[in-house]
């Protein structure tokens, strides 16, 4: 169980939407992932194609619908997007995402902090997307963010966890859930995040753009589960010399 603010989630995997080749594949992938949380962006509605439904077949009432503030470059824009999302009737959680660099899509730390502060004051349950900056992650936590979502690597890159040391520091100091967000590519990346002690992962491209998104969704579900089990089980320490697995005594010599 993962508790974020007042929400209790049975799955530690959050899944982005869109980027799938078809609504049918998306539906099957979402189901295979067994996620509780789907993320969305807020955009202008097309008045010409109002009937179009990109989420056909998905029973959205079964999920926590987590809006993000993607598209915002300032705190002001992020706060407005979050408020629009709230009035549209999703959950009262929001993923704060304020991008400060178009090449890396890394967040603007100053605007991210400001947006988080304002949304907390406004009563939102705030999950903040951040880089793997250890100090910023601590400051977001001190501000009262309900979860901190450090990037493993740039959004959509599939590079996996490029700085496990920073991530480990972020996790060790954490008093709120840490959800590793962005950049994960393979099930081993997801398992590694969980082994490092993360409370969950958020995936989008890794599943949606896989050759077989439905199978990848299941693989990610199992990887998150395996990584969490392994983290809780406590791995052996690493050392530079071997320790035999078989008994050293009683070896029968050739005569």
């Amino acid at each position: 169980m993962l508790k974020i603010g007042e929400k209790t989630l049975h799955s530690r995997l959050m899944l982005g939407t869109g980027k799938y080749d078809s609504p049918e594949v998306q539906k099957k992938a979402v189901e295979a992932s067994e996620t509780n949380v789907l993320t969305f962006a807020v955009r202008r509605m097309s008045l010409e194609n109002a009937a179009e439904d990109a989420f056909a077949g998905l029973d959205l009432d079964r999920y926590e619908l987590l809006p993000n503030t993607a598209g915002a470059a300032t705190a002001e824009e992020a706060v407005r997007t979050a408020k629009l999302a709230r009035e549209a009737g999703l959950c009262d959680m929001v993923k704060v995402e304020v991008i400060g660099c178009s090449r890396t899509l890394l967040p603007d730390p100053v605007e991210t902090l400001k947006a988080s502060e304002q949304l907390l004051a406004d009563g939102f349950t705030v999950l903040t997307y951040t880089s793997d900056d250890v100090v910023l992650a601590r400051k977001l936590q001190e501000l009262g963010c309900h979860a901190v979502m450090p990037a493993a690597s740039p959004i959509g890159s599939g590079l996996g966890i490029v700085n496990p040391y920073n991530l480990q520091h972020i996790i060790e100091q954490a008093e709120v859930p840490i959800i590793v967000d962005a950049g994960l590519g393979s099930p081993s990346d997801a398992a590694y995040a969980m082994e490092l002690g993360a409370d969950g992962v958020l995936l989008n491209s890794a599943v949606a753009r896989a050759e077989n998104p439905v199978q990848m969704a299941e693989a990610m579900k199992l990887a998150v589960h395996a990584g969490k089990l392994g983290a809780d089980a406590g791995r052996i320490p690493k050392k530079m010399t071997a320790t035999a697995s078989s008994p050293q005594q009683g070896v029968s010599p050739t005569s």
């Binding site: 969305f40 962006a41 955009r43 202008r44 008045l47 109002a50 009035e87 958020l202």
Partner: protein
């Protein structure tokens, strides 16, 4: 009258309220939000919010995102 909806000029016959406007476009159901002249409206305010010539509206919904 002329309204600026989602950044685009729209010519309409007289429309009374935000509710009526949304019904006109067939977008009055589902998970959407409306900003009227810079104010984000609660759903219960749609009925009572009058629309006048020159008003600016933003109508948003949810799309795929991560």
């Amino acid at each position: 009258m002329t309204l600026l909806i989602n950044g685009k000029e729209e010519q309409l016959e007289q429309t009374s309220t935000v509710s009526a406007l949304l019904a006109h476009y067939g977008v009055d159901g589902g998970r959407i939000a409306v900003e009227h002249n810079g104010n984000i409206l609660k759903k219960e305010e749609w009925e009572e919010t009058a629309v006048q010539d020159g008003d600016k509206l933003e109508i948003v919904h949810f799309v795929g995102g991560g």
